[in-house]
């Protein structure tokens, strides 16, 4: 039986979310930006699990399964977009992908 206070548990999830946010703000490589979004999704799911454990209800785990489905779709679409971007621009730098007309 875990007796860590729930504040500490939620604090852990919050720090994980903020690490993902910092990564998203700082990195310019699109693979790293997608990875940071993954970290943020994961920590949001962690908060759901902590709350479900706190109230002893199964709803938190149900919500985590939904987050899992959303994450899978997001990663599939994001990586497909990333492949297209690399195909067109030959780079993954988010700063250089700022032209509406497609250059070659």
């Amino acid at each position: 039986m875990l007796t860590v206070p729930v504040e500490i548990q939620i604090l852990f999830a919050g720090i994980l979310f903020l690490l993902g946010l910092i990564g998203l703000l700082v990195r310019r490589n699109m693979i790293f930006m997608l990875m940071s979004i993954e970290v943020m999704f994961n920590s949001a799911g962690l908060v759901f699990i902590i709350a479900g454990n706190h109230w002893k209800q199964p709803d938190g785990q149900v919500m985590f399964i939904f987050i899992l489905a959303v994450t899978a779709v997001e990663v599939a679409i994001g990586l497909a977009l990333l492949l297209q971007v690399y195909h067109h621009y030959k780079t993954l730098d988010a700063d250089s992908i700022n032209k509406l007309k497609d250059y070659h």
């Binding site: 604090l11 703000l25 700082v26 990195r27 993954e38 709803d59 899992l68 994450t71």
Partner: protein, 172 residues
Amino acid sequence: MNVFFYIAAAVALISTIMAISGRNAIHSLLFLILSLLAVSVVFYLLDAPFIAALEVIIYAGAIMVLFIFVTMMLNVGIERTTERKWLNPRMWIIPSILAAILLVDFILALKNVPSSLSINQVILPKQVGISLFSTYLLAVEIAAILLMAGVIGAYHLGSQKKKVTHRYLEKK
């Protein structure tokens, strides 16, 4: 049990920091897998063994392998872009300060959490399944529609189309 929680949390935080600050994409992805496995240990300690298994199978097993395949397919490795000058330590200061402000805000908001129910019970996967397919049945169907849209969208975006450009728009 508490020691295991703190160890897993420390491993998760350190490996996440390594993942978001690394240069090499493959190394960062492997650190991210380590972070997800540590979070899975936390799930197990939080009496959610089913979710811990899902985390390992789907997150670390499927999603991250997809990432690694795409990274290897693009063959980027160490990117030679303008990010190099973004990655000096001064660029981390302002986002870190903003995130620290959010963290302090969050800690202050955590002051009055209502106390837990003291019943000592594990939520079994059976309860999760019953709740999933009775209370949240509509949400399950919406998730199915979302997955369908994701499959079609990924197929459409992933197909390499022949580029069609009007001849006036082509560069001389």
